[in-house]
Symmetry: C2
Subunit: 445 residues, 2 copies
Amino acid sequence: MSCPRITPRHLAVSITAMLMGALSSLATASTSTSFPDAAASDPAKLGWMIGSPPPADRTVRFEDGSYFQFPAMRWSVSNFRQLMPTINVSRGLGAPVPLQSALRNDIDAISFVPLGAKASMTWDQSLAATYTDGIVVMHRGKVVYERYFGVLKPEGQHAAMSVTKSVVGTLGAMLIAEGLIDPSKHVADYVPELASSAFGSATVRQVLDMTTGLKYSEDYADPNAEVWAHAKAGSPLPKPKDYTGPRSYYEFLQTVQLQGEHGRAFAYKTVNSDVLGWVIARVTGRNVAQLLSERIWSRLGAEQDAYFTVDSIGTPFAGGGLNTGLRDLARFGEMLRNDGAFNGQQIVPKAVVDDIRHGGDKQAFAKAGYDLLKGWSYRSMWWVTDKEGGAFMARGVYGQRIYVDPNAEMVIVRYASHPVAANSANDPVTLPAFEAMAQYLSRLP
Amino acid sequence: MSCPRITPRHLAVSITAMLMGALSSLATASTSTSFPDAAASDPAKLGWMIGSPPPADRTVRFEDGSYFQFPAMRWSVSNFRQLMPTINVSRGLGAPVPLQSALRNDIDAISFVPLGAKASMTWDQSLAATYTDGIVVMHRGKVVYERYFGVLKPEGQHAAMSVTKSVVGTLGAMLIAEGLIDPSKHVADYVPELASSAFGSATVRQVLDMTTGLKYSEDYADPNAEVWAHAKAGSPLPKPKDYTGPRSYYEFLQTVQLQGEHGRAFAYKTVNSDVLGWVIARVTGRNVAQLLSERIWSRLGAEQDAYFTVDSIGTPFAGGGLNTGLRDLARFGEMLRNDGAFNGQQIVPKAVVDDIRHGGDKQAFAKAGYDLLKGWSYRSMWWVTDKEGGAFMARGVYGQRIYVDPNAEMVIVRYASHPVAANSANDPVTLPAFEAMAQYLSRLP
């Protein structure tokens, strides 16, 4: 007889995996022509979840994983709260501090040549090419450009994907600056449960800079890749009765084994951020959602609460579970551009921002072989460019970005829903577009 | 062989059922001595969900239904978002309008005699007796009393339980006032899918006033009670493979059959609110969460977004799924006390508030046999007292309340987590306590 059982599909294994940002293991894809373009896949035009009830072919469900299939995913990334349990990141109760505005109408015409292309593209065209859901450009502290597409609105939250890592990394670096975490100590000194995992022998600094040696594959094409076990462990849905694996993020992290050596090469693996989240929780008595509210979100003058997705025991997904309003993400980026000072307060120590701008180990980074990011490095979960002046970036799959360019006095934040997860798919447009914007703004009187 | 299967437990059937407020079918319980008192069950002192990970016996999980067992429930009611998917009720992006404060320090000593008791009780004592999580008293538009207990904070949201119904009823009454809904029309005129259910032949007014004749039992002690099928249908968790029942609130509502006659007697049944939510969605093209934001929450000067729990296709639970900040609930109540005007705007038409204050059919209400609520009535999903001047109340299981007393120029909002669901368990304290407060405030110069 055939028993009714929950299949892996029911575990919505995609939840963690798809949020993670497997930049390293996904193929360097171009914007494939096998996907409908931004206009044809516009989630507002397609009418997902409209109607009472929505039509069957426009209903987005969590349990079968279909919510993360393109183009339904373009609705989901602005509506994760409707799909799974979450924990709030309170903005506090006071009045938001409005972002000043100095909109410029000549920005859409800025032109640049995408990497590997011959024809030039305008800024306006780049938005559709990258399946942008929302973008804000700030210059000298004012909003000079702001657009929304599809179902993202100013009053709404979008998945930050692996931009989450940079936010959590910033919290970790703050705790180091305060002396609460010693980056040269081993992870096991803070979380003894990790002693026999690969993390036991890694330093907090190696975790922050992702130079750990881990047997952890984020190759979604391989059914035996550890990313799937991670996803199953972190799913908030019930496990099948015969499931014997780890049942939470914390339980999964204890199973990760050493491969190679710590400290030699940059290797982008989401579990490092989850481990950092655990260290932070152990040191502060607060999970990353609570700490983010207390230390940053409630001090930014944010317009909206943010939120993290959680596993079945309430652990925020520190590797990719943050969702925020776009303008609040701009406030966060602008705070960093201002050396951590914003809204009349020093929110992040200047030394933390300086350290991120200064970057990490370029040789270690080079070993990871990112063709489009030559000369870059990775520091405290931020991607640090080779630009003079220390521009740095938070990157999340499907096109999420915070780009802070202190020299150009510019911050760009973008939420997107590109059909290809890997940022290598949109970098050929994104990188020169952002660079062109920086040059344009730098020339302004 | 024994097959691994999802049991009804896994469906978290409790979710809908426990949220519903089966006031009519639950026994008239007293505050039983078999439960620990408020101090002994304080969710902050018990340390639910504290730690990384929390201890096993302090972990609150959704999937096994344990989240709703007392005393874990005292944590859950302030943290539903961490347990299940939800939809946001945006407050908008502007500055909250602060509530003015004129706190009085003599309120705790107000004394009254609980119904059926001989000894008197003070207001302060009544808070523990009713397992209060938070309470705000407003008088003449100012906060005169405000307390929080356990894990509820001003910056947090608590389950409103069946107070939800009154909020949704208010939306329905607004649409009637605007002419968008004709209350004398049949439900099937708006939702043809309900034509062959009991609701097909009910008028919208009968649904609003819960005088429908429905074969729908909310007797949790009966495993065949329809409430369990409702709960299974509305659970956001995956259904077992062999499940053949309705898979959403909307699908369940179509199965409810006629029993008796519409229009004769008040019968408190949660499905009426879900049906009203469906009518509202069909008429406006917005679900109740979206409409509540648009019409009310974004105009109240609210401090926080509110939210609804949703089923697996994103339908807000109109019968009991609202969660709000306590002070925002006070703003809502104060708006109604001011004939619908608040924050410089007419938010709800005065005629709607007048109609609620005027009450519903007292004879129909009397037939339901509420011993403690003699002379009351039910109108547009509000409980209307027999007090002169038309004091009215929203009531949710476990002690949730909005009490608007126009004559006393008073609004009380309370969130609570009483161990007994039925309000008959806390009414002997609540009703005379609120009355004593009204008398005290009325005597102030």
